[in-house]
Symmetry: C2
Subunit: 440 residues, 2 copies
Amino acid sequence: MSRRYTGQNVTLLRLARQGEITEAMRIVADAEGLSAETVRDELAAGRLVIPANVFHQHLKPIGIGDACRVKINANIGNSAMESDTPCEMAKLEACIRFGADAVMDLSTGANIDGIRRAIVDQSPLPVGVVPLYQAMEKVENTAALNADLLLSVIEEQAKDGVDFMTVHCGLLLEHLPLIKTRTTGVVSRGGSLIAEWMAIHKRQNPLYERFDDVLDIAARYDVTLSLGDGLRPGSLADATDAAQLAELNALGELVRRSWAADVQVMVEGPGHVPLHEIERNVVLQREICQGAPFYVLGPLVTDVAPGYDHITSAIGAAVAGWRGASFLCYVTPKEHLGLPDLEDVRQGIIAYRIAAHAADLARGRQGARDWDDAMSRARYAFDWEKQYALAMDGERAREMREASLKESGETGAHYCSMCGPKFCAMRIAKRIGRETPTAE
Amino acid sequence: MSRRYTGQNVTLLRLARQGEITEAMRIVADAEGLSAETVRDELAAGRLVIPANVFHQHLKPIGIGDACRVKINANIGNSAMESDTPCEMAKLEACIRFGADAVMDLSTGANIDGIRRAIVDQSPLPVGVVPLYQAMEKVENTAALNADLLLSVIEEQAKDGVDFMTVHCGLLLEHLPLIKTRTTGVVSRGGSLIAEWMAIHKRQNPLYERFDDVLDIAARYDVTLSLGDGLRPGSLADATDAAQLAELNALGELVRRSWAADVQVMVEGPGHVPLHEIERNVVLQREICQGAPFYVLGPLVTDVAPGYDHITSAIGAAVAGWRGASFLCYVTPKEHLGLPDLEDVRQGIIAYRIAAHAADLARGRQGARDWDDAMSRARYAFDWEKQYALAMDGERAREMREASLKESGETGAHYCSMCGPKFCAMRIAKRIGRETPTAE
């Protein structure tokens, strides 16, 4: 059961299929209130992944899949225009502090290697990357990309201990004509680069042609593949269109090939999708990808609210999680406008923890409502300290209440400035309690 | 068709049933892209209300109901601990500026009359109130409330031009025992006062006993009744429980009595409801209340995120609107913590406009997606000014993007600091467009 690097397949999927239960499976089982056997069996069936690179030192493994609580990912990373290593380390701190389950370093600016290594070194959360971004830093232009370069970057990042990687292997040459009629073309950064390369060279996606080599690297380090949806819709107009579905079909094939190679795999999904099409998107993914965990970006349920896309997308994410998505990639208020700062990261994480928890509640996940019940009891007891302790972001809740009380010059413990003492329904309800006979 | 005060029934419902089409019906028809006949017929059937007091001078009437876009209400008003008339007028300004469809003045503090009159005088939006709050200001304690006092306050407020009123007429003496086992008792302010009064006097709800008198006042001024859900759940634990459903049944009876008196009526709903119970709540309300418009508060899909309840509730509101609720009462970030300030009002309004629009899109409301499509075209064209002009809160979007660009020292028009110029998927996608053959 040792998972040191051996140059052989060391994936948890392989071990699970051999019937073994590892430390990582036990940790996930404990965290989820599942038996270790269930975690092993779900892993073996491909319905659960535990992204855990053999070289990620301080990882606290998490499970992503049907049997587990819905998880959330926070994207951090710099761009050519903003941020540096200290800034990104502060964002990692925020991710840990505010409760992200995983983090992706999507740096595309200076010092990509340094930032990634610092994040993997410091992060107890699984770390994801998109190797294509670094590959682009090594070439003059998109045309100069090639398969060997891409594979060498993938291996380099795997060696650094990255737990999961978005690889845009399912966007194929034959999909390009389907883009032409779209309202917003290609909005995936990686997808657009692969598409451009194929358009220039009139050749098939090198990551598709060399998918066996990708699998070989993933197997040796136990990198979980996150099959990128390069053609995810960037607008409601493009939602669930022919381009998106053509790529999804290709991803279904790649899931089967990953499983055949004992490589852990999940599948990325949209994007921008109206509320009534979300369930259909989840159902299609589950059918086509045979239950491989679905990792969605939002989806945003409208295009018209830049500055508030943590909200437009938390609505979609909650419904996606309820209907079966296992992993929700956050969107921050800065989406479509700029690189998120620390406050954006915080807002995005809390919005997505809300969506994930709402989904767990809706799925009737065992024990999920205990948290809400504890909060509601604390609320009814006017136990403010307990409410802050239980709140998703207790610090912000305390600041808000105290700012209100300060304005009004009161410090009353048994009400707040919303209603004041005379109109506090819960205060009044307690008086009723003493007057009312019990139901017979 | 004149609707001056005559001491007789002057409601739009009565006129619609007589086959008349009024100016207000035409305005609503134009705004909704419906024929005036449809608006009249929907009004006559009770499935649509146009809250429009004969004494509200500057009202721009709106329609609330199945056939109309989903509408949102913003609650403003002071408490004994915070705010005054100028503050509340500033909130009214914010409601108009950021796009609320209606506003409720829930003042419970000083100068209730003055604030309400100033709001009705200035507001083109329909104005709602809860007369019980003012009644409480006229008595020493809850026990001293009585039916005549309540009716006199209702008439006084109707005379002031209030368009809709929350009246807690359906919370009955026999419901009190059902509260006992609840986790959070009664969380409606009005509901708690009525419940306390009944518990003290061991007598039936005076607003229920005198409902015919309430109807008489409503008919003379055309006040739309909003039947309050005094027993709405204040926690997931209490969602869709016996207390809530017992009151809902009583509300169904009051809807029929309102219609029999040609009085416009809508029905208020929860509250705190997990995602998977929202549709059931809407379906039950529609059945029991025979299609009278449903006016929901959120619902909040989890109890654990104080400080972010505009988000917990926008998720529920979007799903409620999709499933058939017609009117969404906003919840601000300050919910459970304090009285909302101007920024909270802004956050609450935008979160709810997102929810309402997401619902309209999901219901396939004609023309709803044009807005999204226009935004997406502007986005793909990098037309930032058009994006700001189309955005729900363009000012905030502009601030966010410009703050990011300033930090990076760039002013590039064809990308943002999220990805920078090299990794902008939409820039790249346009290059692909020039390389790719059209689909055959």
